[in-house]
């Protein structure tokens, strides 16, 4: 035992309830995540995965519930949480270059009338290099492929130098090598003690990528280490269907 009682959890959620116009989106969800974990939020379509991320950041109002990150309320810690939205929410024709997009990641740590200076620009360029996109610095973001765009957004999150990272469906519509690059960066962040939450709708590879899973279908179906949650009988509860291929995998495991 590592003495979990004494360890501060990175994210604690108690009795979270969220509804849209009287329809339940998230019902009575409680869990906690220790620091330095790479956590996947999985579940069927409409399970409230993205809603959970947004509720954690108070981007949408909640009906009840208590949320703490690193022992603080979200309003105190917001600037230390990096959020990567779904790619479909972005206007890719916006007149902005790749390097300036990454530079946006430094904004949360700048004061209200402060401009990004040399230090911030150097940091942005480093982060762009880290995702292997240094050669594209002066391109307009719409000229990139989906995978490249997602890497640029990953670089932006890195430039925020956050403690907690939230990514909403980062692997949708991107190429294999970009997916690998992003997963490697997420694992590096985890190894550096950061906490990473990823909404992931594809069960494929969920067991490879993550340390822990939060399995959601409006209610919390399962939470904990991958081996405990990624089981056919538990997944079946969330998806209301059977997963014969998983049974085979379990035999191998």
């Amino acid at each position: 035992m590592r003495g979990d009682i004494f360890m501060l959890s990175a994210i604690t959620v108690r009795n979270l309830n969220v509804s849209y116009h009287g329809n339940d989106a998230i019902q009575n969800v409680s869990f906690s995540v220790s620091p330095g974990k790479l956590v996947g939020i999985i579940g069927p379509n409409g399970a409230g995965k993205s809603t959970l991320l947004k509720a954690l950041l108070e981007l949408i109002p909640r009906d009840t519930g208590e949320i703490q990150m690193n022992g603080k309320g979200i309003s105190e810690i917001r600037k230390h949480v990096a959020y990567v939205p779904q790619r479909s929410n972005i206007d890719w024709d916006f007149p902005i270059t790749v390097i300036d997009t990454v530079l946006l990641g430094t904004y949360p740590n700048l004061g209200i009338f402060q401009r990004p200076k040399k230090k911030e620009k150097a940091l942005a360029y480093d982060c762009l290099q880290k995702v292997g996109m240094g050669d594209y610095a002066n391109r307009q973001i719409g000229e990139l492929s989906g995978g490249q765009q997602q890497r640029v957004f990953m670089a932006r999150a890195l430039a925020q130098q956050a403690d907690i990272f939230f990514l909403d469906e980062p692997f949708v519509g991107i190429d294999v090598s970009s997916e690998k690059a992003i997963v490697n960066i997420l694992k590096e962040l985890r190894d550096g003690g950061k906490t990473v939450l990823v909404v992931h709708h594809d069960l494929n590879k969920a067991n490879d990528y993550f340390d822990e899973l939060i399995l959601l279908n409006k209610e919390l179906i399962g939470v904990g280490e991958v081996e405990k949650v990624f089981r056919s009988e538990i997944l079946a509860k969330a998806y209301n269907t059977q997963f014969p291929f998983l049974k085979e995998m379990e035999v191998q495991m």
Binding site: L59, V81, Y83, P85, I90, D91, P95, I96, L110, Q160
Partner: protein
Amino acid sequence: MSFIDAVFQYGFLQKALLTSTMVGILCGVIGCFIILRGMALMGDAISHAVLPGVAISYALGINFFLGAVLTGVLTAIGIGFVSQNSRIKNDISIGIMFTAAFALGIVLITFMKSSTDLYHILFGNVLAVRPSDMWITLGIGMFILSTIYLFYKELLISSFDSTMSAAYGLPIKWIHYFLMTLLTMVTVASLQTVGIVLVVAMLITPAATAYLLTERLWIMLYLAAGFGVISSVIGLYFSFTYNLPSGATIVLVSTFLFIVTFAFSPKHGLLWRTLKSKRKKKALVH
């Protein structure tokens, strides 16, 4: 007498020129944010919605600037309220609210004043700019430009990625309503140059022209301001020389600039795009 001689000789023409230059800059700059946020319709709505405010201000004998900002912002709030609290989409809500405000304005003005005033408010009469109007326009202009300079960072990020902005704590709702306030102020400043009906053209056309020419927001702002100024000055020239309504000539000049850019812009222009895809096809054949 040539236009240039006339500018030196007549004070009213100098005032007109100065006012419309300022309006060109302001509309161009604010217009960039309006089109990048997908709010072109909103620009149209707010510009029409200042009419009842102008009417009420006339009636009360206060500066029409106050009333205009009030009804402009109220309409913006009303539009947001209806679309957020029902299945009515934003563009529908805009259609309902601004026509209502505009109709109310027409009724109020007709009650109180002669219809010539209505005509000037709707279509502009830049050659009748009073010194006080000019100073108000300059004041509004300085205020808006310095605000945009100071909050450039926040305006950029909230226009590009409102979710991330909200996630790190920017008050994006307030930024939206603040921008709506700036928009009503620009509309009021533009009343005499282009009039209510055509303000939206000055907001959108120069900004859209700039949008076709650059991949950087700050360059887009400068270009849009430049196109706004060119349109205003040349439009004023035609208005003076051929005795035409200034609003109409200014807007036509800006449309001309847009059409030329649309055809010949190096990266996004029609001609260049066609040439590029033809060359590509040829290369594949050989």
